[in-house]
């Protein structure tokens, strides 16, 4: 895979990376606007993960069989993440959140967040009650969220 170095510099994104957004998001007007999408829908074929199928089960079983599992290896993400380096890194990331949050008067939420388990992937940080975005996240399976202004 071409993408390998972690970077904090965002990229503008090539067409391939934003094509779904262009085709599948953005404002839509009905009826009198000609939505000229001949053949375009094909590009947004839903490629969702379908796990509940025999084919998938067989594929997973075979993939794992080929992995040469080493149960004693201790190299999975939990170990990776729980390592000192990572712990510090996450801590640092959390500290950096202080600034914007301090200004917003949400210190309690912030403390709770910092106290969260450092092993990011093994145990997701506890979402403090009242965290602004904890409940905002739409279920991945629901259709697109209704923005303000649509209720009119």
């Amino acid at each position: 895979m071409a993408i390998s170095t972690p970077s904090s510099r965002p990229s503008g994104g090539g067409l391939a990376e934003v094509v779904e957004l262009i085709l599948d998001r953005g404002l839509v007007i009905d009826i009198w606007a000609r939505v000229s999408l001949v053949g375009i829908e094909l590009l947004t074929i839903e490629a969702r993960i379908v796990v509940a199928s025999i084919d998938t089960y067989l594929r997973y079983a075979e993939a794992v069989r080929r992995l040469n599992l080493e149960p004693g290896r201790q190299l999975g993400a939990p170990d990776l993440i729980a390592g000192t380096k990572t712990e510090k890194a996450i801590e640092a990331a959390t500290d950096q959140l202080d600034e914007p949050f301090g200004g917003l008067g949400q210190p309690a939420e912030h403390k709770a967040r910092r106290a969260a388990p450092p092993d990011l992937l093994d145990a997701p940080a506890t979402v403090p009650k009242g965290a602004r975005h904890a409940t905002r996240r739409p279920s991945p399976r629901t259709s697109r969220p209704v923005p303000r202004g649509d209720e009119r």
């Binding site: 599948d24 490629a47 089960y57 079983a61 069989r65 380096k85 965290a131």
Partner: protein, 268 residues
């Protein structure tokens, strides 16, 4: 074709049946000094602004019988909106919106829906969309799920050396167990990443994974003055997760994921 040409002529009174491709909507104040840009039909169709009240639409001429859908068309759409987004708050239209006349753009798009646009512009004001995607490195997800689950290790060992046919039932049961753990694991990773990113955003949209490599596909509506803080957090996460998850960080993008307003035309 004849019917369509007649309709167009009635609406816009242009002899060669030209329609307008619509890219997006911006505040009228930002329309002043719009630099122009090549539109979807090339240099012959410069992108200009159509103002009505406090709003302006970004449009370019398009022959009525020309159907946008080529790669270059998508690229032009992306490029124009990217330029607009650099200049100020922009509501991006979905690709492929064509309206038959200037009059219709003004009356039916801008004037009729002024309240929705104004609301949305207020919400988006001073924000950009930053997209963060996280991909599992190769077989990391499977390996991790399997090695942390003695039951999977055990059952995997049991099918070693057996053909698919010989171990059909065992494989299905094993695969089902793996699938269940993979789904749970992915959801936890997604949430863990979101917990770190969402506090810096004013709003968040999460798309369902489009492949098994995807741990997270999140779109963050971020205030421009919080961008550098988000950059830092993404950078730190990227380093911490190296070898396990690869992060892809895109932006600033026009707020595609936060303009999912579907406007009804009403009776014309």
């Amino acid at each position: 074709m004849t019917g369509r040409a007649e309709m167009t002529a009635a609406a816009s009174a242009t002899p060669q049946a030209t329609s307008l491709y619509v890219y997006g909507v911006i505040p009228a104040a930002d329309a002043r000094g719009w630099p122009g840009a090549d539109g979807i039909d090339g240099p012959s169709a410069t992108v200009r602004t159509l103002v009505a009240g406090e709003l302006a639409a970004l449009v370019s001429a398009l022959p009525s019988d020309r159907i946008p859908g080529r790669r270059d068309d998508l690229e032009a759409h992306r490029r124009v909106l990217s330029l607009a987004n650099e200049r100020g708050t922009t509501i991006p239209m979905r690709f492929g919106i064509v309206i038959d006349s200037e009059d219709l753009v003004r009356k039916e798009l801008l004037v009729r829906h002024a309240p929705e646009f104004t609301d949305l512009l207020r919400k988006l004001d001073g924000h950009v969309q930053m997209t963060v995607r996280a991909f599992y490195v190769e077989d990391e997800l499977l390996r991790e799920v399997a090695e942390n689950e003695p039951e999977i290790v055990h059952r995997t060992a049991a099918i070693q050396g057996l053909s698919e046919l010989e171990s059909w039932q065992e494989r299905i049961e094993l695969g089902e167990l793996i699938a269940e753990r993979v789904t749970a694991r992915r959801a936890r990773d997604e949430q863990a990443l979101l917990d770190r990113l969402a506090p810096l955003a004013s709003d968040v949209r999460v798309d369902p994974p489009r492949s098994e490599r995807v741990a997270l596909d999140a779109h963050l509506l971020v205030r421009r003055d919080r961008r550098s803080a988000l950059d830092d957090v993404v950078g730190v996460l990227g380093s911490a997760l190296q070898g396990h998850l690869t992060l892809r960080y895109l932006g600033p993008l026009p707020p595609y994921s936060f303009a999912n307003l579907s406007l009804e035309a009403g009776d014309q």
